[in-house]
């Protein structure tokens, strides 16, 4: 299948369009809300909540005998929410730390859900087929009505996020200050966590329990590398999420037997890797390059000072000095020629004749300025 055909299908093939749209919605919501989770050091909360949602889904089915996505999502929401509250309580009332509480809730809730699921599957009127798609996610089974539901819920979640933007921002960065200003921190905390649970529940059907945690952490972690502004980070997180959702859908649609969820996760992982390497200011490559520039600049300044010293020792004449002399003066002789070239580019030094260097007027001024600063 060639690329143009793929893009044609993206708009006109029912399944591909539905799945791409669903994944994009999921990416936007999880990227935006994940930004808050990552900043609040709750990266793994998504992992725990997505596992904890399973018993909620099965119980919702057991109680109502309905497979309406809305009802199952509601069950997942309640279970995820209870799991979060339980974790908070355990951490607050015992010496058990956050990580153990997360692992505990994750495995126990999930195991309980599994028990319920296998129990349900053996009931006589087993109309529950499809419940286990929440385990691993089956994006291909998304229906247009599912996507509409996801869209509506997402719009509500994002609207709430915008409505409480200032408050959420405050409790993310300085909860004590927020409390001292009289904001209902506990309520806001619960609201923000609830929105996160909503984002996770939306994604379960597409990418499944195990991979949902990546959709919370990864777009946000990638966005964090590019900016120090919360608003930009949330927008970028949503963008990265949507990008990986759509590209993952396209790639998995282009080949046989390529499950959508894992491909989406790999796409977002590539974005994270790229961001960590090449992001401006924070990226590893960027940093390495900046360090290199700094080192070169310092070396050039040292050579500039050496040249100025030489000029003072020979005040009588306008003469140049060979790079061999400068090399002898420098603690790092190999960098001298590069430093001279740099000084020449900056207009501080010029080559009078072959390998005979002197300061220009502005070079003398600069050397004087730096000397004064050093003193």
């Amino acid at each position: 299948m060639d690329i143009s055909q793929l893009f044609y299908d993206l708009f006109f093939d029912y399944t591909l369009r539905t799945v791409a749209l669903g994944s994009a919605i999921l990416g936007i919501v999880s990227g935006a809300l994940g930004s808050f989770a990552v900043l609040r050091k709750q990266s793994l909360l998504g992992d725990a909540i997505s596992h904890a949602a399973l018993p909620g889904i099965v119980l919702a089915f057991l109680l109502t005998r309905s497979r309406e996505p809305v009802i199952l999502m509601l069950g997942a929401l309640i279970a995820g929410w209870l799991a979060t509250l339980f974790m908070l309580n355990v951490v607050n009332t015992t010496r058990i730390k956050n990580d153990s509480a997360l692992g505990l809730v994750l495995s126990v809730f999930f195991g309980f859900g599994l028990m319920l699921l296998t129990f349900t599957q053996k009931l006589p009127d087993a109309t529950q087929a499809g419940l286990d798609k929440f385990l691993f996610g089956q994006a291909a089974t998304l229906l247009q009505s599912d996507v509409v539901t996801m869209g509506i819920i997402s719009v509500i979640a994002l609207a709430l996020l915008m409505a409480f933007w200032k408050e959420f921002k405050l409790i993310t960065f300085d909860p004590e200050y927020a409390a001292s200003l009289g904001f209902p921190v506990r309520f806001l905390d619960v609201l923000l966590t609830t929105l996160l649970v909503v984002a996770i529940v939306i994604g379960l059907q597409t990418v499944g329990v195990v991979l949902m945690s990546a959709m919370i952490v990864a777009p946000a972690a990638a966005a964090r590398q590019w900016t120090d502004k919360l608003s930009l980070m949330v927008i970028l997180g949503g963008l990265f999420g949507a990008l990986s959702g759509v590209s993952g859908t396209l790639i998995s649609g282009s080949m046989e037997r390529l499950p959508t969820g894992p491909v989406i996760v790999l796409c977002v992982s590539v974005i994270v890797l790229f961001s960590m390497l090449f992001a401006t200011n924070r990226g590893l490559v960027w940093n390495w390059f900046r360090n290199l520039q700094n080192r070169r600049q310092l070396r050039a300044q040292a050579v500039l000072a050496d040249l100025s010293t030489l000029a003072m020792q020979h005040p009588d004449e306008e003469r140049g000095h060979s790079s061999a002399v400068l090399r002898a003066m420098s603690p790092n002789p190999d960098g001298v020629s590069l430093a001279l070239k740099r000084l020449e580019e900056q207009g501080y030094a010029r080559e009078l004749s072959k390998d005979s260097w002197a300061l220009t007027q502005s070079g003398q001024d600069e050397a004087g300025k730096e000397k004064k600063e050093a003193e």
Partner: protein, 369 residues
Amino acid sequence: MSSAQFEILLIASFVAVACALPGVFLVLRRMAMMSDAISHTVLLGIVIAFFITKSLTSPLLLIGAALMGVLTVSLVELLNRTQLVREDAAIGLVFPAIFSIAVILISRFAGNVHIDTDAVLLGELAFAPFNRVKLFGLDFGPEALYITGGILLLNIIFIAAFYKELKLATFDAALAAALGFSPILIHYALMTSVSLTAVGAFDAVGSVLVVAFMIAPPAAAYLLTDRLSRMLIYSALIGIFSAVSGYWLAYLLDASIAGSMATMTGASFLLSYLLAPERGLLAQARRRQNQRIEFALTMLTMHIANHTAAHEAEIENEVVHLNEHLKWTPQFAMEVVGIADRMGLVQQREGLLTLTESGLKRANQEFSN
């Protein structure tokens, strides 16, 4: 109980103890979520080793998986050291990516082979007795029994041999480093043990149960004792209890064995959380209640001692007036006065309270503080 059931229970108990031992150190070292990460990423190790050996029973699978576990830990540390993401985010980034690669490899190249993601994540303990070790035509019991037993033995030897080092590195890493024990070496040794345990166990019980057995029993034991040695023993016992009771729960409901066992580890934790003698919720509530009463008794004696002069005593020291002077509800006032009376701190005469000798002593002691 049939012999197959007995074998299942034995395997499950081996897994429970094998998981609980390194789990104790994970919980204490605040690295519990590492077990979640490792138990997922070992899948890739298994898949790669499977592609190389073309066999599902080769011991290379174990080694490949253990290596992948250690690689996961190193990757998390590598990400962590760039300081671009926090440690929890690093875990959340690494393991889904590795797990995704494994799932893709399985569905693309091994679709017709018997390693599917369901079996790995959820485990199927019920089938464990069918895969038997046969030598010279003799039946030596199920294979899983030997694998899990071997891993259990390895873990016991590891912890027994390095008990002192593990203890020191866990509770005072700086001192351990100063004394010349490398905390990094101990860290990686522990992580290798966790990886091996995860692989050996999840073949039998699935990765979710591995996490449950590694975290829940040690967390429950953590609330019961302050001694490392006891915590190890309690964790192992709680693990065995969860395994056995979980099996019968599954039998009763005809449900997933792994899921039921995980549920029982949760139930065990809940019991410990509620009833632990000092750190449980009930003990905490009782302690708070006792402190409240103790404080109220002291308040009462001080209040009466302050108002012993006859003209004041008339209005201040009547039981019915305590609620307005001490801001107590009438009910609570009656309760406190009743207790004080029984303890011989006060005497009641026609609704009027006076201090006894010991009551006066208590008030004066408080005043002099």
